[in-house]
């Protein structure tokens, strides 16, 4: 009966007893490892799986001890000497045969991981971590897009990994040996951006003391990645469209055209259709860019990826900071998984880094995480309730804050209200100096 259930699961599943010996292995994992259930039964799991995560038994012992689920990416080396990228998820169960109570053990789920970082070394950091169906779809589409030479438009919220996807697309394309040039269209004023993109001749304008090749020429035979394309001014949009159509352009102040062979990848967090409707983005350029579109899902829609990313960034941050942090405590995990992550993967990465730096013990607790995670009302309510931290007062039912600045303003206003307008008292309540509060009031124009 149990074997039938296990065999119906489309991922590899192994059930281990407390000695970490294999009790059951489903058909999918038999196929992945090359060992039949009869051969594997009674053998230490690490000899069947041959994973790269090293100290697998110590991880398993930890899960048995504290009952906390662990996700790790790594390779599985099968009997046919083939190594494959997988994600291991290890969790404790109270009955390994589904009948007998108080017969604890472990369930190990092995899923094929595409583009996942092994964590324990292997592929570089320029990889995407994700295992949700949404991200698997993105990986699938990326594999197709990398084979073409057409323009790609990557859309998605800020911090969702558009830049990383563009890099990966370039690396996986036929142009991978050539230049990958990234230009942030929102970071430069229009005049400077034109010169930056298309280059200029010496003397073209005041300060142009020498020729400048421009990013299009630097990216010749390679890929030009224009991020925040939605911020591009209308005159530059015209010029960009002409380059895309004719593959040639005139540098600023030059009468000679330059022909380039560039693959363009553009990204934006804006809704370009709406921008077109409101007249801020040219429709023809939109259609030209929108040959192939890739939408990166926000982190809140990527079921299961938060936990995977938390582990991934924790390992990375621990390694970079030479920290002795081993993980998160159960409450912190609950809060982090339930948080809505408006800043997506970037916010999660920074939060983990904050936690690793603030943690004085070996496990990151709620007290080691930024306050705004607990104060924001913008949290998920599906299944994982995430109220405020016990020691903090319940936040008022106000409009959900969308960012740190807004949240800080709300906190300052609330403290000022509580202190009856006395700044010294408000500063005490906020746990900051009077001068800092004064500066923040001035910065936020709250006077």
């Amino acid at each position: 009966m149990l074997d039938d259930i296990l065999n119906a699961i489309p991922h590899g599943v192994m059930i281990l007893d407390t000695s970490l010996l294999v009790r059951s292995i489903n058909s999918r994992l038999q196929e992945m490892t090359g060992y039949s259930a009869r051969e594997a039964r009674g053998i230490g799991a690490e000899f069947i799986l041959r994973s790269s995560i090293g100290a697998g038994s110590s991880l398993a012992a930890k899960v048995l001890e504290n009952g906390e689920m662990i996700c790790r990416n790594g390779t599985l080396l099968n009997r046919r000497r083939i190594s494959q990228w997988v994600q291991f998820t290890l969790s404790r169960v109270n009955s390994i045969d589904g009948v007998t109570q108080d017969c604890p053990g472990l369930v190990l789920v092995v899923e094929k991981a595409e583009g996942a970082d092994p964590g324990g070394g292997g592929r570089s950091s320029a990889t995407l971590v994700g295992h949700s169906p949404q991200m698997l779809d993105v990986f699938e589409r990326m594999a197709i897009l990398a084979r073409t030479d057409a323009s790609v438009l990557i859309t998605g919220e800020t911090g969702s990994g558009k830049d990383r996807i563009a890099e990966e697309l370039h690396e996986a394309s036929a142009r991978s040996g050539r230049a990958f040039i990234k230009v942030n269209c929102g970071a430069l004023p229009e005049a400077l951006l034109e010169s930056e993109l298309f280059g200029h001749r010496r003397g073209a304008f005041t300060g142009a003391v020498k020729d400048h090749a421009g990013m299009f020429r630097l990216a010749d035979h390679g890929t030009l990645f224009l991020t925040e394309i939605g911020d591009l001014s209308l005159p530059l949009q015209v010029k960009l469209l002409s380059v895309l159509d004719d593959s040639c352009f005139y540098p600023v102040g030059s009468s000679t055209s330059v022909t380039v062979d560039v693959r363009l990848i553009a990204a934006t967090h804006r809704d370009l259709r709406r921008e077109v409707a409101e007249g801020r983005f040219r429709e023809d350029l939109f259609f030209r860019l929108n040959v192939l579109q890739l939408r990166v899902p926000p982190l809140r829609d990527r079921a299961g990826d938060v936990r995977l990313l938390l582990d991934h960034f924790l390992r990375r941050s621990v390694r970079l900071n030479h920290s002795r942090v081993e993980g998160f405590d159960t409450e912190a995990i609950r809060r982090l998984v339930g948080y809505r992550w408006p800043g997506n993967v970037r916010e999660l990465r920074n939060t983990v880094e904050y936690g690793v730096n603030m943690c004085r013990g070996t496990r990151i607790g709620c007290g080691d995480l930024p306050d705004y995670l607990f104060e924001s009302l913008d949290v998920r309510t599906d299944g994982v309730s995430s109220g405020p931290r016990p020691e903090l007062p319940l936040p008022p039912p106000a409009t959900p804050a969308t960012g740190w600045a807004e949240l800080e303003q709300q906190r300052i206003l609330k403290a000022l209200q509580q202190a009856g307008g006395r700044r010294g008292r408000a500063a005490e309540l906020l746990g900051m100096g009077r001068t800092t509060l004064w500066r923040k009031i001035k910065d936020y124009n709250l006077e």
Binding site: E39, G42, G44, E46, I48, R50, S51, G54, R79, R81
Partner: protein, 109 residues
């Protein structure tokens, strides 16, 4: 003939490339000539292990998991590789010395 087994505690190490300890034994006419010696590796590395196998003039490697690339390299160097051996290193060594160990053997206690 020299024989090498990557070990992990009392067992043949699950993976050739993750082993941090190896056993080297010398045998002649199906008998061990001396007590096997253990070498601790500074860090796990399949390439480092392959170098050591060549330097030590090992003729037979007994291991559990090994990647095809390293397996082929060793075979190309005319080294016998008995892989996918699961079990304790002691019976594995005895069987290998006696010429009775085969790839894929599971040596249950």
């Amino acid at each position: 003939m020299k024989l090498l087994i990557p070990t992990c505690g009392n067992h043949v190490a699950p993976r050739f490339d993750n082993a941090t300890e190896v056993l080297i034994a010398t045998c002649y006419d199906r008998q061990l000539l001396e007590e096997p010696r253990f070498i601790l590796l500074a860090n796990p590395s399949a390439e480092g292990l392959c170098d050591m196998i060549l330097k030590e003039q090992v003729k037979c490697v007994v291991c559990c998991g090994i990647e095809e690339e390293h397996y082929r390299f060793l075979k190309w160097k005319k080294i016998t590789v008995i892989d996918s051996v699961i079990g304790r290193w002691k019976p594995a060594l005895d069987l290998a010395v006696g010429g009775e160990l085969s790839a894929g053997d599971i040596l249950r206690v």
